[in-house]
Each structure stands twice: as C-alpha cells, then as structure tokens.
Amino acid sequence: MNMRIHIKGGRVIDPASNTDREADLFIANGKIVGVGDTAPAGFESNSILDATGCIVCPGLVDLSARLREPGYEYKATLESEMAAAAAGGVTRLACPPDTDPVLDEPGLVEMLTHRARLPEFAHVHPVGALTVQLEGKALTEMAELHEAGCIAFGQANRAIVDTQVLLRAMQYAATFDFPVWLQAQDPFLAKKGVAHDGEVAARLGLVGIPVAAETIALATILHLARETGARVHLTRISSAAGLEMIVAARAAGIAVTCDISAHHLHLSEMDIGFFNAHARLDPPLRSQRDRDALRAGLASGAINALCSDHTPVDDDAKQTPFDEAEPGATGLELLLPLTLKWAQEMKLPLVTALARVTSDPARVLGLDAGQLAIGAAADICVFDPRAGFVVTRDALRSQGKNTPFLGLELPGRVRYTLIDGHLAHDGAWG
C-alpha cells in the first residue's frame, strides 16, 4: 500500500538547508514530497503522525555501528541492533569489517546487505576490509567488494604494522578513488595498553597508551595521504594533539575528514572511577583537556562527524578485571541524546549540533542523504527534546547493555523513526 504520511505540528530542523522552523512534512512513496504549512496539491494522507512539541530532523547517519554479524551473534544480532538503531533515530549506518569472518570477501558483504534489506531496517553500508583478514599483509579485492556494496575500506581498530603495506593499500584504493578509513594508533606504543597513559592509569596501575601512539600513527597516515592522494577518513580521534595535526594537515592541502565517538565527547579517563569496565574503550578515554578540545573541534566543524562507535559486548566479556574486559560500549540509542546533551552544554544551535550526526556524516559517506529536501528519501527522526531518557538495561533495545552511561538521565526521546517512509519505530506510547 502506498503510505502517504503527514507529520503534523513539529519543528523541522534540516541542517543541510540550514532550516529551523515550524512546519509539517508530507511523505509519499517513501520520499519527501512537501515541507511547509500546507500539503502539496493532491496530497491526501492516510496516516497522520502528531509531532506537536517535537523536532523533526533527518534520520541520524552513524559512521560506526558494529552489528556483530556474522560471527558474534551471542553479542548481538542484526535484528536486535536494527531495532536499537530505529529506537535511536538512526536510519543509516556504516559497519566496520571486524566481524568473524571479516568482511574481506564479496560473498560475505552481499549476504550482510541482503539480510539487512528489510523495510524497518536502517540502510547498512559495510566498510570492507582493507587487507585480508585485517592482518595488514595482503590487499583485498577492493573493486569486487565495492561492487558488493562496500562504501569504503578500513581496518576497524587493527593497525597495519608494515608501513609499506599501508602505502600500497592507500595507493590501490586511490586508484579507484575508494575512501580509506583508518584508526590512528601505533601498535607498539599501545601494546597491552588499556587506558590513557596519564594520571588515572598511574594511580590505578593500568598499562597506559600514550597520546604519542595516536600522533605517530597519524603522522604516518597523513604523509602517505599526501603521497598517494587517497581519500582518507580518520576514525575515532581521541586527543587534542591528534586533532591539531589534522587541522594543520588540512591547512597544508591534505583533504582528510575525521570523526569521534560520542563517548569521547563526554567522558575522560576520570570516568574509569574504580575500574569501571564500561569505560574500557578503544581508543582509550583521554584527559579532560583532550575531551574539551574534541568538544570544541566538533562544534567548529574541525571534526566532521560524531558517531556512536556502537559496540555491543556481552556481560561475560565485561564482568572481568578492567584489563581483561573487551573494549567498547553500546551506543546506537545514545547517539541522539548525547548529541543533544553536548549541544545544551556548549549552548550550540540544534541545527549545528544535528548536522554532525546527519548531513555531515552523509557527506563523509559521499551520499546525498541526511537531509529533508523534497525528493529525498523519507529517512526521518521525530524526537521530543524535552522528554528524558533514563539509560537502563531494560530500556536498551540493543543486545549490548554495556555503557558507561547506565543509570543516567539524558535528554531527548525518539517518538518516530521513518526509513524510506516506513514507520520503523513508534515510541509514541513507549
């Protein structure tokens, strides 16, 4: 049946067009057909969504969400994580290749994208493995993987130790103008490290990862980016020094983009408290000074996008001593609340804040998405900015209940999520 939806009485915020005004939204055939006070000629809705008091914005675009399929279904499944995405207002996401087996063969990528092709599921863009098995030795069949649906190539958080392989991989990707997504962390300086090499690690006796692990790896990547002309996106920057290097590289004409995780936007090493394994993240939470630089960098746009870095981890892998705990935190359902909290604390206009989780990450993906233009896909998030969201295990749809924000109340509650005009989440009564 052809759904014709009328989203009524909301405040429309569309960062791509710098719009923030009271307006209704009209949807037909999975596309936006009108924005304004009156319906386009001939439009007759067969469904009305009441958005009174709510904000209507593009569905969120998340540059990193681990869906755990294939291979880690005991941590999460496509079904559980897609429900989490919809509940979090996320309508489009990229997933890193560190599944089991890793996404280094076209067949695996096809299977994943096929499984993900349900109307209530967010659009899934796999990031293919840059090297076979992510081992940093042999290149993958990038052209084939691209055809199978990979939007970029990366290593998740595993480094390519051999710099020559890194150079070749970037050259090869540049040949086809495929984006290369890299996480900057020197594997030797990060060896056995579990926390930022600073005051807290010193006190708690945890093995530290110095900021130099990030900056040294960044220097290598930035030099090779200039050398090869590859389109580089740097994932999960964690330090002020790292951000400064990226800003300087851009000034020198190296066109790189970067993102940070929502955890690093709010937390620092101090949040490890008494060995809280939920604060065991990769890269590690750094100093408060680093966190403040990231907050400012995201506000100014020096950091292109904010992602959830969603990593569902089973309880057994977290209920261990800190250094044995698996790094990562669940985040799909917290991305919007954490964005809103940051915007409140920084006194940022919502149109700026929401850009970092909608139109800006879409641009990193090279897609004309994350916007509410007429004719665009009806990927929409309707949320109540005044309602709170208490983070509890029961409230989370994700199979991963691991988050350092457990017990906290965050702003923003998703009322409706639409994907291609399909109502994927209805939180009106929830």
Partner: protein, 327 residues
C-alpha cells in the same frame, strides 16, 4: 559529567567502618591510624605459648591466589590462624581459571561454601574491586575482601606494615623525609606506600628511579621525583627499596642488572648520604646485588626482618577489624 556509578569508595560501610581493604588510597588518616594502633597488641600474641586469640573462631577465610606467592599467602594464613579462623588456600592459576571459570563464578562458588572473608591476589589491577562490587550487588555484604596484591595497583597490607615499621622506629610521621627506590612503574607496593605516607602526613616523599621505571604523571601522586639516587637519598630518614622483577632486568626497560646496581643499587656508600639513623626497608624477596648490597641488607640499619614480623600483626589487625564490622 560523571556518569560512572562506582565512584563511591566501596571500602567503607555506612558507618565509616572498614568493610573491605582494597587500597590505601582514599582511606582517611584516622582509619589508617586505627589499623596501626590495633596491630600493636597483636605483636604480643606471637610471644605466647598458645599463639592464638579466638576472634575469628568458626570463620572461614579463603586465600584466593590467582597469582602465585607462597610468601604473601603464608603471612595471611598465619595471621588468620592466629585469629583462630579456618583457612582454605586456593591457588587458582593451577585449577579453575585454567578450565575457563570466570573470576566471579569462582567467588560465587566459594561464597556458597559460607566464606566469611576472601584474601585475593590477582595479576590484574582492580580484580578485588570486581569481587567486592559483585558481593555488594548480590547482597552479600557479610563477606569481606582483603586485597593481597592486584596487578600494579595496590598491596595495602604491605603498605600498612611498612607504616607500622616506620612508626615503630621513627615514632612520628610529621617530620620525615622518605625515599622509595626502584621499579615504581610496575609496583603495587610503591603505590600503596605513596598513598599511606601522604595520608599520614609525611612532608616529603621521594621516588628514585630511571625514567623507564616511573609511571607517567607520578608526581601528581604527591611525590618528588629523582633520577639520581645519590641526590635523592641525601638526608632521608627512611629508604624503602622495591623489588626488581627478573624479567625487567634486561630488555627495553634496563640494559642489565649490573648497570642497574651501579646506578640504583643500595650500597653502603649511597646509604651514607642518608641520615646516620636512617632505616632501610624492603618488601622482599630481595635480589642481593641487584637492588641492594648484602652488607646493607644484613647491616645495622636494615629493618627488613622486623617488617615481616610486624606484617603478621598488621594483617591480624585488618582481618579482626573487618571480621567485626557490622555488615
């Protein structure tokens, strides 16, 4: 923002009494002083015909050693037995952990055997916290946890027995200069000593080590850093030596034990720079000729064996205080 739930110090109960002993960090000075005061009468128990008092009669103390240490385990065992407790020793690196049982499963199993106290030694920093938090979350506050050394983090009873030793010989903490020498980076003992000394009001705590053996930002713990041992020992009242682990003696941290001894070994010459009545301490076991010269280890200023004796009394005091804390 501070979303972390476990920021409350889990060591003290609602009445401010010691519920667990996990670290010295954050314990108020009067709690430390109370432990030392309580230890004093326990030193006398060892001199009786029956070296036992009945405080923990009928209680079960489980020594959970996930990392082997016969010496530390023995001191806890003696302390518990002198309090009349039943002591059960488990060396878990050779049993269930090898079969894949998780730390908390092990704790749950032993708790089901009516344990009253866990003495925990683990290679991972924070492991005893995990057990204490789990016991609290599952409503088993009557079981007490004593940290017997976790990773690089803490060895609180060692820190306390060192404080007892210093107080025994120097009476007052408020006018002392104390140097901690050696591998601070990997040392749980050093961390506990630093917290104890600063809490008890020692005006100057120094650490002496090569840069490879110092944690980043150690000065934030309230210590003065010296890389030159001769400079660092000048005028100190107490020299606290740390043990250097075999595997760290040569490699990327240090070139050789010989070179380490030359720069950081405690020799009579170097000790002569300290005050004439300075005492020399070592947590044991010692590497003679690596961190300490035999003539110093066996010399008049060494109080290394009294440390061991006091250690039993301090551990008895801790266990007696925990065992009597109202849950």
């Amino acid at each position: 923002m501070s979303p972390v739930r476990n920021t409350a110090n889990p060591q003290l109960n609602a009445h401010g009494e010691l519920q667990h002993l996990l670290t010295i960090e954050g314990l108020p000075r009067d709690v430390l002083t109370r432990i030392l005061d309580t230890a004093a009468p326990f030193t006398e128990v060892a001199e009786r015909e029956v070296k036992k008092v009945p405080l923990l009669r009928g209680k079960s103390v489980f020594n959970l050693f996930f990392e082997n240490s016969t010496r530390t385990r023995t001191t806890f065992e003696i302390a518990a037995k002198r309090l009349s407790a039943d002591v059960i020793n488990l060396n878990i690196n050779t049993s269930s952990a090898a079969k894949g049982e998780s730390l908390l499963d092990t704790a749950d199993n032993l708790a089901a055997m009516q344990a009253d106290m866990f003495v925990v030694r683990h290679a991972s920093s924070g492991a005893p916290y995990l057990i204490a938090q789990h016991l609290a979350a599952t409503g088993r506050d009557h079981i007490h946890v004593v940290n017997a050394g976790d990773g690089r983090h803490a060895h609180p009873t060692q820190g306390l027995l060192d404080m007892y030793t210093i107080r025994h010989y120097k009476k007052d903490f408020s006018n002392l200069t104390i140097a901690i020498v050696g591998d601070v980076l990997h040392s749980r003992v050093a961390r506990s000593q630093i917290h104890a000394l600063t809490t008890l009001g020692v005006p100057e705590v120094r650490v002496i080590a090569p840069k490879t053996l110092l944690p980043t930002g150690v000065e934030r713990m309230g210590v003065r850093v010296f890389n030159d041992m001769k400079e660092g020992l000048r005028g100190v009242d107490v020299v606290m030596m740390l043990r250097l682990q075999n595997e760290r003696m040569q490699g990327a941290l240090l070139p050789s034990p010989q070179e380490y001894f030359k720069s950081y070994g405690l020799t009579p010459d170097k000790l002569a720079l300290a005050k004439p009545d300075a005492i020399v301490m070592h947590p044991g076991p010692m590497n003679r000729g690596v961190e300490i010269d035999s003539s110093v280890a066996d010399g008049k200023q060494a109080v290394i064996l009294p440390q061991v004796t006091f250690g039993i009394a301090v551990r008895m005091a801790v266990m007696a205080m925990l065992g009597g804390a109202n849950a």
